[in-house]
């Protein structure tokens, strides 16, 4: 430990601590913009500068290591002058657009402008006037708002190994641009939205489609049906002032009805269904010598990544559609039939933690119901806005119930929301299918947690299955390179594009750290534990749909509605 004095406060901090970390221990708040707790230090915004006794220049708190006896001052006139001037410089190059901005009240720059009482700016406003990039259905870039902190670049390259964003030009012409193409659609971008979480301002955001939703609700001819992904519940509370994980599922059902949904169903239902289809697909591949290892296919950012960077391994992907798309295909066939409604009137809206799901829903092949299977995808953040818009008071909402036929679910579906969840859910079912015995302890704890790559060997009555789990595409790349080299020891690999799995998806409430992701994961397993049914094949509505409609996993109907194929994106970025 090293002793330093910060603003007169004595504090001991670890040997390798920065001034910023030491200040935190001393309870002194130093402002930051380019700093991100899970990323390498960049030290480019300079708003964290402090005075260090004996040094002539101000020192960036985020990048400067402490030394024994260092005397640091974070609030001298020179420091305040520097911070305010730097903020003014940045703001003079930034649209004064807070009122209309998607990050209004959730922006690090806005917060600092408020904190440092920035009023009139002596530097005249000069906005670059760069065009917005709306080329993808998922992600919008607004380069005028970019403050060049380069956190997105880091997230895309280091967390995701996609390298879709890079810096071009020098000086005040420098800007973040999509690499290898004129826009994001041409770039290798997989639409995971991790750059959105990294961005301190509104320079990258989801393609917001609230207006489409409001129009559908206003249309009396439309039956507006929703499905909601398992990762939404644990995080949506953060959007309406509740603690992570605190939103009650049944309260949520009522709230969804109040904002205009005619029927509230659950993606969890098709998550359970996915386990039956995918579990059986795996067993079939193992028995019949099909392509192995088999990869999960429920993360559309991951699918985009595989199609872009590993087109040679597309046959290893499970042919199962994602739960969202299975749901979409069934709601306009099976459910419409059960309800006796005209499928052409159904407007199917999914609520997802994911930006890539917007792209997935728009894929031309996703119309096996005869219509576009999922009409609209709203992210958790967009749902949060709708809740706030309608002024719901969650403390007074009475719990409601999911509607029938595609609303029941088990704990196995719930854990889809966390990294390792699909694997654990699959093992719960596959174990019982293969061994014929009851699985007493359903908890496969090796599969849980934030470690980048997890693996295990599972003994199913002598049938040894080796499995791996990767989340975050940089981890996926490691596993994939092994497969490509023919050195993969695994039978089954779960891959989620986003760090932490769907709970860290690009559409979730802005997530500034992995610590927040871990908190959400906790919420997921707590929910699973509280449920009576925790194995997908015990879901009564799933049992029913096989009896009445699908007949058997991997059967003719399943093939038609629940499975898909993949395309080489032919981007040639290898």
């Amino acid at each position: 430990m090293i002793n330093v004095i910060i603003d007169g406060i004595k504090v001991s901090a670890p040997d390798n601590a920065s001034i910023l970390q030491a200040a935190e221990l001393a309870g002194v708040k130093v402002p930051t913009l380019c700093y991100h707790p899970d990323q390498a230090i960049k030290a480019n915004c300079r708003v964290c500068v402090c005075e260090v006794e004996g040094l002539p220049l101000l020192q960036a708190a985020c990048s400067t290591p402490i030394r024994d006896g260092m005397v640091i001052r974070t609030n001298t006139p020179a420091v305040i002058e520097a911070r305010r001037t730097i903020l003014q410089l940045i703001l003079a190059h930034h649209p004064q657009d807070c009122l209309n901005c998607i990050r209004n009240k959730n922006c690090e720059l806005q917060a600092l402008a408020e904190q440092y009482a920035i009023r009139e700016n002596p530097f005249e406003l000069m906005v670059r006037g760069l065009p917005r990039d709306t080329s993808t259905p998922s992600i919008v870039r607004d380069p005028d708002k970019c403050i060049l902190c380069r956190r997105c670049e880091y997230a895309c390259s280091e967390f995701q190994s996609v390298n879709a964003l890079g810096l071009e030009n020098r000086g005040n012409h420098a800007m973040i641009v999509p690499s290898l193409g004129k826009d994001l659609l041409e770039s290798p971008c997989v639409m995971c939205g991790q750059c959105i979480h990294a961005c301190p301002v509104g320079a990258i955001h989801e393609n917001e489609e609230i207006d489409e939703f409001l129009a559908a609700v206003a249309d009396p001819d439309k039956i507006v049906v929703t499905q909601m992904a398992p990762a939404v519940r644990v995080a949506i509370g953060e959007e309406v002032g509740m603690a992570t994980g605190d939103m009650d599922m049944n309260v949520l059902v009522t709230a969804l009805r109040q904002i205009g949904f005619d029927y509230v169903l659950h993606t969890n239902f098709t998550a359970d269904l996915t386990i039956l289809e995918e579990g059986n697909e795996l067993l079939k591949r193992v028995k019949e010598g099909g392509k192995l290892p088999m990869f999960t296919s429920c993360s559309p950012g991951w699918i985009n990544f595989c199609e872009t960077y590993y087109p040679d391994l597309l046959d290893n992907l499970s042919t199962c559609k994602s739960p969202q798309q299975m749901f979409g295909a069934l709601v306009k066939t099976y459910w419409a039939e059960k309800m006796g409604v005209d499928p052409s009137k159904i407007y199917s809206v999914s609520i997802m933690p994911c930006t890539a799901k917007k792209f997935e829903a728009a894929r031309p092949e996703m119309n096996s119901s005869g219509y576009r299977d999922v009409d609209l995808v709203l992210t958790t953040r967009e749902l949060g806005r709708l809740f706030r818009m309608t002024g719901l008071d969650f403390s007074r909402i009475a719990p409601g119930k999911f509607d029938s036929w595609m609303g029941a679910y088990t704990g196995a579906a719930v854990i889809f929301g966390a990294t390792g969840g699909v694997m654990e859910a699959a093992l719960r079912t596959v174990y019982e299918v293969v061994t014929g015995n009851e699985l007493k302890d359903v908890n496969f704890t090796f599969a849980r947690g934030m470690e980048g790559i997890k693996e295990a060997e599972i003994d199913l009555n002598g049938l040894k299955v080796r499995v791996a789990i990767a989340h975050g595409l940089a981890n996926a790349r490691k596993v994939m390179d092994q497969v490509r080299a023919g050195e993969s020891p695994y039978h089954f690999i779960e891959i989620m594009a986003c760090p932490g799995g769907c709970i860290g998806g690009g559409g979730q409430p802005i997530t500034k750290s992995n610590a927040k992701r871990a908190e959400r994961i906790e919420g997921i397993y707590k929910e699973d534990e509280g449920l009576l049914l925790r194995k997908s094949h015990e879901n009564p509505e799933v049992i029913q749909i096989y009896e009445e409609f699908l007949h058997e996993p991997l059967g003719h109907k399943s093939h038609e509605l629940l499975h898909t194929h993949y395309h080489d994106k032919n981007k040639k970025f290898l």
């Binding site: 913009l33 230090i41 030290a43 480019n44 915004c45 300079r46 708003v47 500068v49 002539p56 220049l57 101000l58 960036a60 990048s63 400067t64 290591p65 020179a78 002058e81 520097a82 001037t85 730097i86 410089l89 940045i90 003079a92 190059h93 002596p122 530097f123 403050i147 060049l148 810096l167 030009n169 020098r170 000086g171 005040n172 012409h173 420098a174």
Partner: protein, 407 residues
Amino acid sequence: MAEELRLVLKNFGKINPLKVEDYLSAGGYKSLEKARSMNPLEVVEVMKKSGLRGRGGAGFNTGQKWFFAHNIQADEKFVVCNADEGEPGTYKDRIIMENDPHIVLEGMAICGHAIGATQGYIYCRGEYPGVVDTLNTAIAQAKEKGLLGDFNIEVRMGAGAYVCGEETALIESIEGNRGEPRFRPPYPPVAGLWQKPTIVNNVETFANVAQIIEKGAEWFAGIGAKSFPGTKVLTLTGDINKKIFIEVPTDTTIKEVVFGFGGGIPDGKKFKAVQIGGTSGGFIPEEFIETTIDFDSMRKIEATLGSGAVFVIDETRDIVDVVTRIAKFFEHESCGKCAPCREGTMRVHLLMDRINDGKGSQADVALLKKLSRVMASACLCGLGQAAPTPVVTTINHFGMDYHAKVQ
């Protein structure tokens, strides 16, 4: 009148730079041999005691710098010669390398022995293709004769960005990355090229090494100014009669440089100011020209010695216009990494332009002063920190010129 003292340039015009035999017969590579007979720490100690300070601008004690790298255990260390020479009006490194390449190679090899490095790089300005050829010939000849022993030297070409002369941007550039400075600490002697201990020294710094080993620390410490001993190669440009390069002891005064060696101002005009050390140097008015050029004396008058460029302007020049053009240079050369420089250099240029066009106000001048203060203390690298110096020094010394232009 003061006289030149050619130490670094001792072989200038006397040897054929393309013939290593010439350098050898002038006593070349003897110092390397001598250094190799000493233990590395001894070499470092001699360098420290000599008081040699970097000739690239920052003026850091060379032996002290080597000591840091010497002191660290690492599987690999590097010696890098900064030959980027991007400073407009500066060409002293070119003169040295063109005329006596081996003196630089020898200095680098001695450094390699002192810190325990076997690989060296010369990062040479892209606009100097002829120099690159000369260096490569010299390296090949020295290798053929086995003069460098196990020390290897490779020449890398710069891509024309001014900021790549900054040592950490230079390192990034050699690594094949965008030429952007790194934050410090860690400093290159601790973690430089590929995060290994790395010594980056200027061409002229390396050119001083062999003679120090040969003649001893005391000899060198006795030349020129006490706190910044030795000589300095200067290049004279602007409104001056003799646009020449000279090598003088560091206790030479500015007046001797401009009016003695430079022959004063042409056409009988009067001296207005001199900017020393390159584009980011301070402008020095007449009242300070008795100052000696050594680092510390210059610092006292808010000026620099820097690379040794001496740019003189006469009474007929519009100094606000001159500084406006300098501001434009820095706006163009900012790498764009850090906010105060990326935005600040652009604003400084804008404000200077406005004042220069007669559209500025006293408030603009005040804003320039504040902005300069912030940039000088908060920018990530020396470029942004020094960019406002010409502005501040001219506002301070030639306030009337600004006053005449603002409304």
